[in-house]
Symmetry: C2
Subunit: 320 residues, 2 copies
């Protein structure tokens, strides 16, 4: 028994790119694209379409910009029913950086924004829609949003855009299931003409559980990444999501296969997933930046495993 | 706002002992005991009191047997309000292996059992209660129990024992939140005079979320382990549980400290935690044994990362 309205989104290359400056080899992106498409997942996001004014192309890899020629190289010759998405950061992207839809391989523009940048996000989303794309808005760091401002942002999106979905983004992995319920109710109340989406981080090992909670509350757009590859503790693991959903169109095997062949080997160079510094960030509802710094300390640095000290330091910062 | 009835149980040494044949150095057990007691956790389980007829003392470490002298060495001189528990496997322990309570440092006997061995479990629990201990029964592998037999077992425990709690044990990490709800309701229906407990495994990254779900449904005995150390994908991480509970008696810092100093270094020798072979076991609701074999293959063995093949093999076994 499944809900056909549910759309699963793979954003491995996009969110994972926050851990390696979006420097994935082309072959890896092709393999991920091939596997995700073969699994029946509905949408695949291959990176950011951010501005070269904001990110130095010498320092960041191709998937921070997703130029059309790179996207063609990643997808050419691979049969797919999945829609192709890129993400634009409201405060780090330029509306002009997208072509008219008929000249692009992209189907969907997802605009990531903080509540404070909602006007920029709406401008970019509407520009994309005028050019022929479907567009969604992802409201980041929702656990830090001031409630009245969030309400206004949702109302504005509802009135001023034709986006198909608006996402709850738990950037800090700080939300519990009751928070998910509360936010989904709020989103649904404001967004009469749109779907609600969910994008979770795994700082407290709740990314998958909170995604299920959202499903139960009729959220239909679900983000996941292969083996949870994403910023800090990572995201809702796509393999768990596909293992849970009952729609027979999904096939978990290509997902498992590409994880074994391409994602696991990345663990030598990138560390993502549950760990104590990220858990502490989640419990305290703060950005995982300091946790990421701690994780990057050398193995022999005594500060690296001084978790009690880290907790104390972060707690006192929160309390100031 | 907290529920004073909630009792947190640390079973790091006991469940973690399934990953290293219970061979923890004494110093490690002392450090764990000291930290868990300092954190305000209510009960600490330091291993199994299983029979030397079933486990060769040459092959298994001291914490598979928990002789009184070892327990004294682990706990002597450490101030503690926590109760000390050991676990007895109904089918691998002898009732005679426990002393009268006044000669022992143990407070609580937890009896682990499959539904089929419920008579043995009741015998061992009642023997312990007669000798002056508190006793609980943990029904393992509940996701494989035949429902009518589970009902009978619960009824029998209710009528024939004075155990203070009966546990739902999700040995295979196969349960979703709706299953937890269903089982908690069932346990509460049969067990009018007892508390319900929850012990989860993390094969699908749901151990903590399912424990929260159980809390919401008025389950009061909650098992966790430091950094999730336990069989296969491990357990509900104690640090998450203590980070979530609002009772001011809990102090998370000693827990974080001992994780950094003693638990993380064990990762060099023992692998526990979320991984694809365990995830597949959880999704398919099977014992993690084959997953553990797969995890123990050498890095260069091509079968080690053939996750799709493993899924296919396990699925076909399940379907036979």
């Amino acid at each position: 028994m499944y809900r056909p309205e549910i759309k699963v989104v793979d954003c491995t290359v996009r969110d994972g790119g926050l851990m390696n400056d979006s420097k994935f080899p082309l072959e890896t992106v092709q393999a991920i694209y091939r596997a995700v498409c073969a699994s029946g997942v509905d949408i695949i996001e291959l990176g950011y379409r951010n501005s070269k004014k904001h990110f130095d192309p010498e320092k960041f890899g191709a998937w921070r910009f997703c130029d059309e020629d790179m996207l063609r190289k990643a997808t050419d010759g691979i049969e797919s029913a999945a829609k192709l998405a890129v993400m634009m950061d409201a405060h780090k992207a330029e509306a002009e950086d997208i072509l008219p839809r008929e000249e692009s391989v992209v189907d969907i523009i997802r605009v990531a924004t903080y509540v404070k940048d909602i006007d920029k996000a709406i401008y970019i989303a509407n520009n994309a829609i005028e050019k022929g794309y479907d567009a969604a808005i992802n409201i980041m760091a929702v656990s830090h949003a001031i409630e009245r401002e969030l309400d206004e942002a949702l109302q504005q999106i509802e009135e001023e855009t034709k986006t198909f979905a608006v996402y709850i983004v738990d950037s800090f992995g700080a939300l519990y299931s009751e928070d998910i319920d509360y936010l989904v109710n709020k989103y649904q109340r404001f967004l009469k003409t749109k779907e609600v989406g969910i994008h979770c981080h795994n700082h407290q090992q709740l990314a998958y559980a909170n995604t299920i909670e959202a499903i139960i509350k009729n959220v239909n757009y679900l983000d996941g990444t292969l083996y949870g590859l994403g910023r800090a503790a990572g995201n809702c693991p796509l393999e768990l999501l596909v293992g849970f959903l009952k729609n027979p169109k999904f096939d978990i095997k290509p997902i498992l296969d590409v994880i074994g062949k391409y994602i696991i080997p990345m663990q030598k160079d990138i560390f993502w997933g549950y760990s104590i510094p990220y858990m502490i960030s989640g419990v305290l509802n703060v950005h995982p930046l300091e946790g990421m710094e701690m994780m990057s300390l050398a193995e022999h640095d005594p500060r690296k495993f001084d978790y009690a000290g880290f907790y104390e330091r972060l707690s006192s910062e929160v309390e100031i």
